[in-house]
């Protein structure tokens, strides 16, 4: 068998491209992931969680970059640690783009085609395919060192797609990408998922994520705390209530506390507070203004993913919501 050939799915889990069972992993004896069970079928799956939850480590283990300390990963029913060729079915775009800075965009893609052991004809067709798909034609001759963050992200994604993989693991694909490109990217990713691929996306861009994800996996302290539809997860994990984001001047948190409310998450210019319903929200705002707090903005947290994320961040932590 050609050692770089795409491996056909194994017999047991041929229909499930990516599974993890009893997965634990860490670095030099420092545990990060604990006993994780996951099954990802074709579709677009989101992984969210606060900083330090273990998202990057999970992606590394699923990609076969890091060996688990316990449990197992199966790609198309095969262990990537034992049958490394199966990793050709996985495309990875990590948060660090890992582009060779002195090479042009096209050469970065050709370099990776060499790394994957593609014959010359396949190299050319694969590079042309991903260049067209991600609209890289105009910057193909540009050096990687001169690319913007968004352009570098697109090149990284193109490189991940060179081998036309069944599974794509994308760590923060929207980070630093301008809105127009984000919309294109979102459309590409949706198309790839609809074609039967399995996409895992870790992101802080929750508005984008909520618009495209088929389901969400919530990670906290290295454990899965929920998996499924975003709206249902929000209800299950943080309750039904009505959450309000309030921005203003003065001691917002102190004023809320005096009125019997507790700020659930603090952002640099406002707080999130939970109330029973819309009527209670109106009452609270009136009470705050009566108490002398200058309310400049008040809006419900409409995005269930953002709501979930903010709650997981916990009170007083530095919420990193862009």
């Amino acid at each position: 068998m050609d050692e770089f050939a795409v491996v056909t799915p194994g017999p047991q889990t041929a229909a499930v491209p990516l599974t993890a069972t009893g997965l634990s992993a860490g670095y030099r004896g420092r545990p990060v992931l604990h006993d994780i069970d996951l099954t990802f079928r074709a579709g677009l799956h989101l992984v969210i969680g606060p900083n330090g939850a273990g998202k990057t480590t999970l992606f590394r283990v699923l990609a076969g970059v890091l060996r688990p300390t316990a449990g197992e990963v199966r790609i198309c029913g095969r262990d990537p640690g034992v049958e490394v060729t199966v990793k050709r079915n996985v495309g990875v775009a990590a948060h660090r783009t890992a582009l060779a800075q002195r090479l042009s965009v096209a050469d970065n893609l050709y370099y990776w085609a060499h790394v994957l052991g593609m014959p010359a004809a396949e190299q050319r067709s694969s590079v042309e395919r991903v260049t067209d798909l991600l609209g890289l034609g105009e910057i193909a001759g540009q050096r990687a060192s001169s690319l913007s963050r968004g352009q570098a992200q697109r090149v990284s994604l193109a490189r991940a797609m060179l081998s036309d993989p069944l599974v794509l693991l994308l760590d923060e694909p929207f980070s630093g990408v301008d809105p127009a490109v984000t919309a294109q990217l979102r459309s590409h990713l949706r198309t790839l998922a609809d074609e039967g691929r399995t996409l895992l996306i870790s992101t802080h861009e929750l508005a984008e994520a909520n618009a495209i994800g088929d389901d969400v996996t919530v990670l906290r302290d290295g454990r899965i705390v929920g998996q499924g539809d975003a709206g249902k997860l929000r209800s299950a994990l943080v309750g039904e209530g009505y959450r309000l984001r309030i921005k203003g001047s003065g001691d917002l948190s102190g004023a809320l506390e005096r009125l019997g409310y507790k700020a659930e998450a603090s952002q640099h210019d406002g707080v999130i507070v939970s109330v029973a319903d819309e009527r209670a929200a109106s009452k609270l705002l009136a009470a705050l203004i009566d108490a002398g707090v200058g309310v400049s903005e008040a809006a419900p947290v409409a995005n269930p993913l953002e709501d979930l994320y903010l709650r997981l961040q916990g009170d007083g932590s530095a919420a990193d919501v862009r």
């Binding site: 970059v65 990793k87 660090r96 060499h114 790394v115």
Partner: protein, 271 residues
């Protein structure tokens, strides 16, 4: 299975070589200029005669054993210090290359990307060893050629007649090459196991651990330099080859075996 692993390592080596070619190879020649300048300076000093060189008389005696009766100090320096300087130069160049390679690739995610590719960590290590080892060989060959050209010119222009023994030529060629390969293995061992040492800024404005790593990796070459300087005039070339070459080879083989067995991806991912 080992054949398949070797084939894969070869694929990765050819990919790295392709990348090097596309990135431009002229930078590889820059260190050779400084080596040539250093060697020329040593020659100019030595041409002033024995009175200006410590141990000059010993060098003359040594060179005369090989038939050099004109410019014997210069020929003696070339024969005694030349091989050690080649070893130090090739090793130093390769240590800088490895430190830069690991430091930049680890911090930009290049090693992580390779680990996500269809290769075992050990295959990646073998490929890196082969790639860096081939560059070390290039530096050794280039420096040896420069040494031969410069001292050849001195010998020819001064009308001296020098006859090298086969064992001396073997020692001059093999020991520095083994030292360069040892530094390849040792520097990869140190920087892949402790990648933070290779990262710029990890130790603030201090050299810190990176300096220690480089010092460790250059030891085989320094040992080669000292072996030629202190022993060449007093023991036979065959003994020099056996002792110095043997010691350097042991260090090289040990570091290569250790790095291919001890390398763990989590060390580089955590850096």
């Amino acid at each position: 299975m080992p054949q398949m692993s070797a084939d894969r390592a070869l694929t990765l080596v050819s990919a790295l070589a392709w990348r090097t070619r596309r990135e431009g190879t002229w930078q590889m020649f820059v260190p050779l200029v400084s080596f040539t300048v250093m060697l020329t300076a040593i020659i100019l000093i030595s041409l002033s005669g024995t009175n200006h060189i410590n141990g000059g008389q010993a060098l003359v005696t040594f060179a005369e054993q090989y038939g050099a009766h004109t410019n014997a100090v210069t020929v003696g320096i070339g024969m005694v210090a030349g091989p050690g300087l080649v070893a130090v130069f090739a090793s130093f160049s390769i240590i800088m290359l490895v430190r830069n390679l690991i430091g930049s690739e680890a911090s930009r995610g290049g090693v992580e990307a390779l680990l996500a590719a269809p290769y075992r960590p050990r295959t990646i290590m073998i490929a890196l060893l082969s790639y860096v080892g081939s560059i070390a060989t290039f530096y050794w060959a280039a420096a040896t050629t420069i040494l031969a050209i410069i001292f050849g010119l001195i010998i020819v222009t001064s009308g001296a007649s020098v006859t090298f023994t086969a064992s001396y030529l073997l020692a001059v060629l093999i020991v520095p090459l083994l030292a360069a390969w040892s530094s390849t293995g040792t520097s990869l061992l140190v920087y892949m196991l402790f990648p933070r040492m290779a990262k710029a800024g990890s130790y603030g404005m201090n050299l810190g651990g990176g300096g220690i790593g480089s010092l460790l990796a250059i030891l085989p070459a320094v040992g080669t330099l000292f072996a030629f300087l202190f022993w060449a005039p007093y023991i036979s070339a065959g003994e020099l080859l056996a002792v110095a070459g043997g010691a350097v080879a042991v260090v090289g083989v040990a570091s290569i075996v250790l790095i291919t067995h001890l390398f763990r991806p989590d060390a580089i991912l955590e850096a």
